[in-house]
Symmetry: C2
């Protein structure tokens, strides 16, 4: 079985769900497309295209359910869980957490739910893109808002299991409340997409000569503009409030630069030095070396580690502290 | 000697000048720092720290002079050329061309000057960073504004030699007028730096949790913010007018996104689709495959090739056409 002694039921066998199915011993999965479920089964995994049967099995086995579908499909799966697996605990892997939690609250399922966001991926999607080892050394965010609301012992146990699940596939467990998570990913994931799109359009407006002269700064600055538009829309449109806040800061900076460029002798020293220092802080923090331009994962984690005993004395304060320093946790 | 049968004199032996000295047979160089000149000499190259002597030698040998110094040092070298090598033709390798041409015009040297911008580099600088092969398959812009001003036959011959020099070290010669060049690099080189700085600052404002969760989109989007601030300032501040125009377009796009995020159901479809299409056009054009995220140079040039006979009938129109499609030229 696995390190937390509880079966895992994975709903959705795309890049994330499929990779989980490969890495979690004894896990079983469901996919809406019968062809995909069949492919997974042909590859030797326990997969079905029958949602009701899969959820009934999860209920019977007291499985931990993972919703590994895109955000628009979450609502329908929550209804199915209520119907077929009402006593199961579950997590999800959607890249925004506020909107998912809202759906969970609408159904009064807070005590059965812990949000996840494994920050791993490739440019490809679907079962054929899934692979073993995808989550190694990746941040795996788990939310803990409900810990502040006198949760049941079962929820505390569920929380521990979700953390152990992420850990068991090599993730680094970073606790964060929903609002903090959504605000952080707006800055470091959704805003980069928006800026990449804007840069791609502005460069393209320069015509053939511009594109002919474009070198690595343009290539890297626009790379994520090559992401399929529906994926970018799903991230940015569902995290509008936090993205707006981050974008307002960026617009403030750029507007200031714009006005300085009007001067007789433009002086961008402070802005450029601030940007340089921020990047260096990120490099030091992440272990990235800006000289190497490496695309390989770093060898050693740069995230501090804090030990947490779920339900133990002061555990919520430890989680809040870990969130504030972006630490990973070790569940004891 | 070299393919254009004329000695080459390189002033400044940093990354660009040093790499040229390595790749141009029979070239000789000067560096302000005696230690650097000595290092180059120790490595077996013909290098001196005596500017006057170097320029007198250039004048005696009718050398083609390359100003391979940063923009702030250009003005002083032009004065030295007027004094010691008044009959030599020269080019420069500064990344903006308008301000350099202004200095050239101030001294009435238009008929001795052809601007270059070899778009090659690494994150490092100085003689120790220089290397053979740096210019292979890189765009090497050469300006031709003076071709529209009834230039002398000597200037046409100089223009041919500068093109042959770039070609001889493996560059792809892209003709562009000064204004077109500066406008293009504002969009695809200077704007990417500005957006990278703004993204780095906004991400950093999110604190430790944001930096902890930052993954490849933030890493790539901020990469060039790790460039030494003086280099970024030199590029952006000296190309203020063109950069302002590009930045205004970007600000227009981002402000529109900002206002759409206020809506009940934000709709970013058009913006995100436009950005995606622009990136795909760039990928097709450059031969970059957005799935591979490759950092290696492409095997085959994607730039169309046009043949040009300097001074021949209609050659200026051919150059204007090449500029408009970002083509490289072959000098016949």
């Amino acid at each position: 079985m696995n390190s937390f002694d509880r079966p895992v039921c994975i709903l959705g066998l795309g890049l994330i769900g499929g990779s989980l199915l490969r890495d979690v011993p004894g896990a079983f999965g469901y996919n809406r497309s019968a062809a995909t479920a069949q492919k997974a089964a042909d590859d030797g995994f326990d997969a079905s295209a029958d949602l009701a049967a899969t959820l009934k099995r999860a209920e019977r086995d007291n499985a931990l359910i993972v919703l590994a579908v895109p955000y628009p499909a979450i609502s329908g799966l929550l209804d199915a869980i209520v119907e077929y697996a009402p006593s199961c605990g579950f997590t999800d892997v959607v890249s925004i957490k506020g909107e998912v939690l809202a759906h969970v609250r609408q159904r009064g399922l807070e005590d059965h739910y812990v949000g996840s966001h494994p920050m791993a991926g490739t440019a490809d999607s679907g079962w054929s893109a899934s692979l073993s080892g995808l989550f190694k050394k990746a941040a795996w965010v788990i939310t803990f808002d409900h810990a502040l609301e006198s949760p049941s012992p079962e929820w505390v146990s569920l929380w521990r299991d979700v953390a152990l699940l992420g850990k068991s596939v090599g993730g680094e467990i970073v606790p964060a409340r929903v609002h903090s998570h959504d605000s952080a990913v707006a800055r470091i994931s959704h805003l980069p997409h928006i800026l990449a799109e804007a840069l791609a359009i502005t460069g393209d407006n320069g015509g053939a000569l511009s594109l002919s002269l474009a070198a690595s700064s343009f290539r890297d600055g626009t790379r994520v503009a090559g992401t399929e538009p529906p994926l970018v829309r799903a991230m940015c449109e569902t995290n509008a409030e936090a993205l707006r806040e981050a974008l307002d800061e960026t617009l403030g900076l750029l507007t200031e630069v714009r006005s300085r460029l009007d001067a007789e002798d433009p002086d961008l020293e402070r802005f450029i030095t601030d940007g340089y220092r921020a990047r260096i802080r990120y490099e030091v923090r992440s272990g990235n070396d800006h000289r190497a331009n490496s695309v390989s994962p770093r060898a050693v984690s740069a995230r501090p580690i804090m030990r947490v005993q779920p339900g133990g004395r002061n555990w919520v304060n430890t989680l809040i502290h870990a969130e504030s320093i972006g630490a990973q946790i070790e569940v004891i």
